[in-house]
Amino acid sequence: MNTRWERIGRRSFVKLAAGAAVAGSVPRAAIAQGPRRGGVIKHIGLEPPSFDIHGTVSYQTQLASSFVHRTLFKFVNGAKYAPSDYTLVPDLALKADVSKEGKMYTIALRPGVRWENRAPLGGRELTSADVKYSLERAVKKSGYASLLGQIEGVETPDKHTVRVHLADAFAPFMHNLAEPWNAILPREVEDKLGDFKSADSMLGCGPFVLERYEPGVKAVFARNPTYFQKDLPHVDHVEWLFVKDRSTQLSLFRAGQADVPFYDARIPRSDIGSFKKSNPTYPIVFWDWLAVRSLAMRTDKAPFSDVRVRRAFSLAIDRKKWVAQFLEGQGFEDHGPVPAPMREWKLPTKDYGEGARWLEHNPALARKLLAEAGFPNGMKLKCTHWPGYGPEYVEELELLAFYLKQIGVELSIVNEEYGNYIRGSFLGKYDELSWGPSSIFTEVDGYLYNFFKTGQPNNRSHVSDNKLDVMLDAQRRYTAKSSRKKVIDDIQRLATDQVYYVYTPYPKQLSSWNPRIKNYGPKNSFDKGAQLEAVWLEG
């Protein structure tokens, strides 16, 4: 072994080995409760723009790919796990050992994993060369490449071992290996077809094989008979339906023609009553999702370069009342920056220190701060927004405008066309204010580094804070969770005290599915294959 590499860290090894034990036990435990083989799940899905997981960051592509392609590790799935439980369990890998400095990962692959028995793969065994090829391809082509840290090299000492060398320790590395865009792909397919864009390239070693792809209609995934988890999946087929119209999706679901009404099973909040009436046996579940909403401000120029103005905006909002009345108790008061459902990282309000006072509802103090900042008569501001997110989002923005009006701030809402919004306001190109939901990230780093690090495209508030930048880099380097947590706590304290964004409350997600599907649990992840391999149908 090269001398610059550190010895393998024992703690990481033990943790992942324990994870392996959990992974092994999940299906067996589930089977003991009576899983049944067979049947077809009809699932409303989304048609991907392409099947190349590295060629696009489209979540539609990740969803479809995850049925066929597998990752080295995966998140726990099943009814007993929380939607944002990202405990890692082995998938194509059995374990990973991390060097003490966190710069080298030694990954042991699961032996005996076979690719589909079709040309050009012919059912050959998955090896470390496949992992090397896939990681290098991801680094070269994926828009998510930065989420793997700086990979210096990938070694394959033998056909079941992979060593990944990072230029610097990168805490989210292991987590991100479990994201569907990091699935392991076979090189022969690219050699034969030129890329992975077409459905013909969907050859994998996952729980399902792509049996049929009908553009504009559906993709049919069939149980993979050579899947390395012999007992999984329980169902024979999943029909991934590309029905686009929302009212049609919901009608098919009501009529039992679709078992799951959307890719994440969501149904509109306004339909709860009618669903209880038309489908009384169907579960209706509120669950935690991660789409935080924030008011981004141009902190690089007046008036938002003055922290008193930003604090005044935060003080104007009655978050408790917002959740209790507007969201009927089914939402989060969430004040960011870490989403409330990420409980292991989220700092309780009482621990925010000085910053906690800006989270209270105190219009009098808000007006006082505005006056001190030179705005005794309030101000008029433009706030950009894309109304296409849906009527409930428009209502939330109107509620925010209502609260700001109480402190003399008149918000003029500028509705933007999607193209303009997504390449403009969404990336910080607006004049004064912009409000909307964020992208969904499954690793806490996504909500911190992207939003606060100087110069990041998603840093919509144009935050440029040296102290924060240092902490943001540091949290990426700490591979020990306790140390990283301390830094992330400090980031939350600083971000809250400086009010770089005003986070507004948001509703819980509402989902329903056909009760004949067992062991189904909502999940904040695009790894649909892992979620559906664990479910079975009632007899």
Binding site: S50, T56, V217, F242, R254, S274, G419, R423
Partner: protein, 316 residues
């Protein structure tokens, strides 16, 4: 007649050139550039300049147009910027769905509008006539997407039943099941377009039924069927056929919404997807193709005048 057809065919050329200019220009007027979308939304590449160059979008607009038009002359409709698939391949796969839906919708419009329009004219100012006229106004007023949504949503809500959507049977697999999938969308589209044809049929029949030659036909003791169908309707048909020809774009346009709601894999849902992704070559190809269809279907309508009215043939 031959000269007439030749003149019309020659006129198609400048029309098509105008269509290509319009289609090429209008897709680029949609806010949100395809490169921005690929980069910022889908991370399709790493550098805007490189991506723009790769897609050929860095060249002057005139050059891009000429390259596209040159391709058209060689019979190439272009390739999708997202999938690299030739647009012609997707159009060929999806066109049968759209044309089936459009033809069935036209058939339903005619099946409803012609008999009802004729009967309303024969029984002018009767209860039946008022009912038919009210139906026509209703059909004109009701948007087809609303009717389609009701047909999908209400039975699901009240009877836990929905039309079979989410699977599609090809014609070769089962012709019966293939046609069955189009019945509801064709009814929605056909009924709403029937209003125009019904009103025109009634109006023209009323006018023709008052003509001397119809009175003569009655006086000669011809049967009612012969008078109405052979003498009156045939002469009333030219304006009606003109209206049907003029409605072709509405049938094609309406099929976009119907395909979306009923989950049919036709050109409509395909172009909608392409628009949302700013897939210029695909949008251009589909629009040009539909424009050609409309031009030639109108030509066919014009040619049918000769079959309906011998005087048109004689003029030639």
């Amino acid at each position: 007649m031959t000269l007439y057809v030749l003149k019309r065919l020659i006129l198609v050329v400048p029309t098509l050139i105008l269509v290509t200019l319009f289609v090429f220009g209008i897709v680029r007027a949609i806010p949100g550039d395809v490169v921005d979308m690929m980069l910022e939304q889908f991370q399709y590449g790493k550098d805007a300049q490189e991506l723009r160059a790769r897609l050929g979008l860095d060249r002057p607009i005139v050059e891009q147009y000429l390259a596209w038009a040159g391709g058209l002359l060689r019979g190439e409709l272009g390739q999708s910027l997202w999938t690299n698939r030739p647009a012609a391949q997707d159009i060929a796969a999806r066109f049968p769905v759209t044309i089936t839906l459009s033809l069935l919708s036209i058939a339903i419009s005619l099946l409803v509008a012609l008999p009802v329009g004729i009967l309303a004219a024969l029984r002018q100012d009767s209860l039946g006539d008022y009912t038919a006229r009210s139906f026509a106004i209703g059909a004109l007023s009701v948007p087809n997407f609303w009717l389609a949504t009701l047909i999908v949503v209400l039975p699901a809500f009240y009877f836990n039943w929905a039309p079979s959507i989410g699977s599609f049977t090809g014609f070769r697999e089962s012709p019966g099941r293939y046609l069955q999938q189009f019945i509801l969308p064709a009814i929605c589209l056909g009924i709403t377009q029937a209003g125009v044809i019904l009103r025109m049929t009634r109006g023209m029949m009323l006018e023709v039924l008052r003509q001397d030659y119809v009175r003569t036909a009655w006086a000669k003791g011809l049967s009612g069927q012969a008078v109405v169908l052979r003498h009156a309707l045939r002469n009333a048909m030219i304006p009606i056929v003109t209206v049907i020809g003029g409605q072709m774009p509405f049938y094609f346009g309406g099929s976009i919404v119907m395909e979306y709601i009923f989950g049919l894999p036709g050109l409509g849902s395909f172009v909608l997807e392409a628009i949302s992704r700013r897939d210029y070559p695909v949008i251009q190809a589909v629009n040009l193709f539909v424009a050609l269809l409309v031009i030639f279907s109108n030509l066919a309508v014009d040619l049918s005048y000769g079959a309906l009215d011998p005087r048109v043939r004689q003029e030639d």
